[in-house]
């Protein structure tokens, strides 16, 4: 028998997750347009691994399979991870990362709703630390590449790491814009000079800025659907922009500007899809602002001074650690309390 309230008005968990997946579609489409359809292979690999490993673990934990497989959260983790990885990453990289995300970061903590860390970012950080070379080897956008790989070539490359005759690895891959900037800065070049390199576009990396724009589009859809609140994206983008613009003003030779930071790396993905993960994030409005500000600050610090080209994954994980304290410290005033 039901108990009060007898009525309900809310999208189910599944429909929320599906809408987030839907919001990723423009980003994926842009990805395919810029880098070719190889990313679809990664997405498929990650999805299959995520659902498969989730099913096995649910089975071992004697939990019902269907409601948890259908909730879409595993799929979302898989997609976010696949989109964060280099598009032509070898198949085993995708599988290992997804397995780590689902098994260690999610199911060991009890599955949906219990993971204190963002699973996709755990998977990403593990891969970044374990396989730094592969993780920073990004394909050159199709528009710039000296050699074009078709879908079958990309598929072949993902599974065998073998290239068609006459094409060298250097012809199709290069460092990411963030990585390139970092190495060039170390070589005493100034930002102004570095940004003239062909990998850079108007805003961020050439080609990649389109993907980032598509993520922004998807994020706006999520905001409009009220799936996510404005707090995290706004605070994240604003803080990152202010830090980047401020440092760029102070020392234009050493620091890239706001637009570059916002449209490079995983900034947009993080602002709307990663940092907004409700399970591993804070719940209070002020907590969300604090959390996103922290993520942005750490991201910028790691990008500008740290040892890794992009800091989103670490920044999110570091702030995930602080979430319980942030929540406790930002409890809003309860009705009738001082």
């Amino acid at each position: 028998m039901n108990q009060a309230p007898y009525i309900s008005a809310s999208p189910s968990v599944t429909s929320i997750m599906l809408r987030v997946l839907l919001a990723l579609v423009p980003g994926i489409a842009a990805y395919v347009w810029v880098y070719g359809s190889g990313v679809l292979v990664s997405l498929a690999l990650a999805s299959i691994t995520a659902l498969g490993s989730e099913a096995i673990l649910l089975h071992f934990r004697q939990r019902p399979l269907m409601p948890f497989l259908m909730d879409g959260s595993a799929l979302l983790t898989a997609w976010l991870l696949a989109l964060a990885l280099p598009p032509l990453a070898p198949w085993w990289l995708v599988v290992v990362g997804t397995l780590f995300a689902i098994v260690i970061a999610k199911q060991l903590y009890g599955g949906l709703g219990y993971n204190p860390f963002n699973p996709a970012m755990v998977g990403y950080a593990v891969l970044l630390i374990s396989f730094p070379a592969i993780m920073t080897q990004w394909p050159v956008p199709l528009a710039l590449a000296h050699a074009q790989l078709g879908f079958l070539d990309q598929l072949h490359f993902i599974f065998t790491q073998a290239l068609p005759g006459g094409v060298t690895l250097d012809a199709i891959s290069s460092a990411t814009p963030l990585d390139y900037l970092k190495t060039q800065l170390k070589l005493q070049h100034s930002v102004g000079d570095i940004l003239h390199a062909p990998v850079f576009g108007a805003l961020g990396g050439r080609g990649f800025e389109v993907v980032a724009g598509a993520y922004l589009l998807g994020g706006l859809y999520l905001l409009q659907q009220r799936i996510i609140s404005w707090h995290i994206p706004t605070a994240f983008l604003l803080t990152l922009a202010v830090l980047a613009a401020g440092s760029h003003l102070a020392d234009p030779a050493q620091h890239a500007g706001a637009a570059f930071h916002l449209f490079s790396g995983a900034s947009m993905l993080c602002a709307f899809f990663i940092a907004t993960d409700p399970v591993s994030g804070p719940t209070t409005p002020r907590g969300k602002l604090l959390f996103a500000t922290g993520v942005a600050l750490l991201t910028w610090l790691i990008r500008s001074y740290g040892g890794y080209p992009d800091g989103v994954a670490f920044a999110v994980l570091l702030m995930n650690i602080c979430v319980p304290l942030i929540d406790a410290a930002t409890q809003p005033r309860v009705f009738g309390h001082e």
Binding site: Q3, R63, P64, L65, M66, P67
Partner: protein
Amino acid sequence: MMTALLVMIGLALLLGIVLGYSALKFKVEGDPLVDKIDAILPQTQCGQCGFPGCKPYATAIAHGEADINQCPPGGEPGMRALADLLGVEPKPLNAECGTPKPKSVAVIVENLCIGCTLCIQACPVDAILGAAKQMHTVIASECTGCELCLPPCPVDCISMVPIPEKVDNWKWRYPVIEIKSLAV
């Protein structure tokens, strides 16, 4: 060699003096922990823990001479509260001390009572009224359900009656999450 010895002896002396002074300066009077533990115990004074009352048991716990799982009336929640206070791992209740029972009160079957006053003397909270050769009765609201009045009664006229669930002591149940029972 000599210097090394001297150095170590000097160090030890210095530390000894500091510690000795602070031990005097910060001397702890009494044991505030006993009261904290006693506040958790249910005060049935039933003695099932093996100690002659709640306070002695609290004292024993505070000094590490008794385990936290010897109080059946406090039950699982009481043990957890103790574990929480003392920062130790919760452990299952010690079955030797008895098992938790639904809260009950003693009721004297009044036509059997011979007025011997033995139960009155046994009651740790003076919840039984009566005089010699007069029928006794239990003040239900004061009875802790310790059962200490049962053994002395020569005519077995006292029984423990569980407190029934009424509208005013009824509790909302833990909601059942159906998802676990849902088969695939």
